[in-house]
Chain length 346, copies 2
Amino acid sequence: MNAIRKRRPTLQDIADQTGVTKMTVSRYLRDPLTVAEATRARIAQVVEQLGYIPNRVPDILSNATSKAIGILIPSLSNQVFSALIQGIESVTEPAGYQTLLAHYGYSPQREEQQIAALLSYHVDGLILAESQHTARTRKMIATAAIPVVETMDLPQDPIDMVVGMDHQAAARAMVTEMLRRGRRQVIYLGARLDRRTQLRMEGYYQAMQDNGLSGRHLLTEQSSTFTLGGELLEAALARYPELDGIFCTNDDLAVGALLRCQARSIAVPQQIAIAGSNALDIGQALTPKLATIVTPRETIGRMAASMLLARLSGQAVAEWHKDVGFSLDFGQSLGSEVVEQSAALI
Amino acid sequence: MNAIRKRRPTLQDIADQTGVTKMTVSRYLRDPLTVAEATRARIAQVVEQLGYIPNRVPDILSNATSKAIGILIPSLSNQVFSALIQGIESVTEPAGYQTLLAHYGYSPQREEQQIAALLSYHVDGLILAESQHTARTRKMIATAAIPVVETMDLPQDPIDMVVGMDHQAAARAMVTEMLRRGRRQVIYLGARLDRRTQLRMEGYYQAMQDNGLSGRHLLTEQSSTFTLGGELLEAALARYPELDGIFCTNDDLAVGALLRCQARSIAVPQQIAIAGSNALDIGQALTPKLATIVTPRETIGRMAASMLLARLSGQAVAEWHKDVGFSLDFGQSLGSEVVEQSAALI
DNA sequence: TTGTAGGCGTTATCAG
DNA sequence: CTGATAACGCCTACAA
């Protein structure tokens, strides 16, 4: 019977039952071949019997390095970030790095707290999925002196490394295409006023102005859901009955809007063209298929992780700031150009 | 200039610049009022200037307790688990507990690895979102001697505490209702062969047998997506053209199936009734609204976290195994009973 | 091949 | 109110 109950086994416990010192056990655990065969067998047996669980804490304390990297995402319920994480882990896992995931509900204050928590565990690096941070966040990261990659966007004032894309340009391109196909009264729908919603709105207004049109938008602070997309569509129709197109900050809203149109027997794209962003699977399952901005999230994750690991291993990397670009999928919800031409005759 | 470059500040650094010992700084950080006012001011200033970041590692090492609990979820991309996590954190956060999130792609082996990783950080407790585990997982948890809550299901052989619901009974109830409304050729569609998919299938077959019918199912190992739901529907129609109802293991498949029906001009619910499980928002945005099993995920999370914290603080709790129940939302995709009666006359 | 000594940064404990 | 000491569990460095 042990003096202390229910304490989980340490190297010393194994050593005691094996008749060696914990140092030998430590060696065995790291490379069994460094201990004599007889010793090896005895240790192996006791390790198995006790169910020894490795303890990373002392090592982190000694070396101030944890072989763990922190990932911060604004929201767990937003599908968009799981692809980013997959991309990251496809690189970190083979490299033997642990990932610690934290989310913060789009609040910079909460991001700050979460980063503090991760730093208190001595993560070796951070991957962030937004580029707006509190002053304290920036100071903490500077003090911790660990590498950081900001992803998704292309921040004006980057903390360190960047892998992202130009959401404003993407929005501008999509709206430009809608206008090229003959739409004139395109309305912008946005939710949860995060940075990307703003950038896309700016792109939208640019495209409208490029074509001599004045845009109109509807925003809400609620977070994006499909039902919210439906409600925003209703509101837009009530306020701007003449609208002939909808550009949404994301596919969630766009899908909700499209479904509501169908429920109200408004023909998409004949009466209203609809486009979103992020290329969610649901948009592809709809009829008509949703036009969307394709954001290469997995690629962003992979590149961000690669850059971070390169930096951690002291490698030189040519570019610390990468723009991964985007592509547009026009789907079936913008209408064909032929249809537009006849529509334009009206 | 410091001897060592870029080392993040420790209590000793603050102490040196303040003329006290690190012990006093430690006290200040935990409760400023325990140090003299003059000292307090000096320490505060240096702490701010240095940007001290707390280091939890030594404390974890000393006390073998981290004030952190691990959450294991099978998948990040499955919407279902974000509500569970929200529920958990609504309890753990006010209580000052950190949550560490890990996911394992529905693989028990990977779950084992992730649990090992969490235990190596000395988490104080675990919340699991499935109830199938490897033998090694069970042994590790026993060795670590920390409290565990298994959630979502009601496992036969629980590790410790349980908060879940009876998926089999829920599926049986839903299918029974479909049959009561006159459907006879209801097919079961399942994906990714996890435990809950199996349980729901068993419930489905029970309901069919209760009504003297032999069921039929289509399964795939792919993970659930909306497009997959559409493909499964096509496959089901090809193999069982006479089908008049579809019960899906989750709303993702059900929504995909419903959209595909609409694309093919198959009237839902007139020709085919459809039901799913989990009450995702998208199902509620559709027309007709999707019939679904309402799983109280946030409640499960809250209760699980409460039980875990109760146990960690040594409180006695009456019940360690809770069945939170379920409810059914018949939506509009099952057809009204009147319609069914006339349909039944055919 | 195995053992000994010391240190990582914090806090509990006991002293002053 | 503040300080000295020891301890947590492992690993590096050195020794035998």
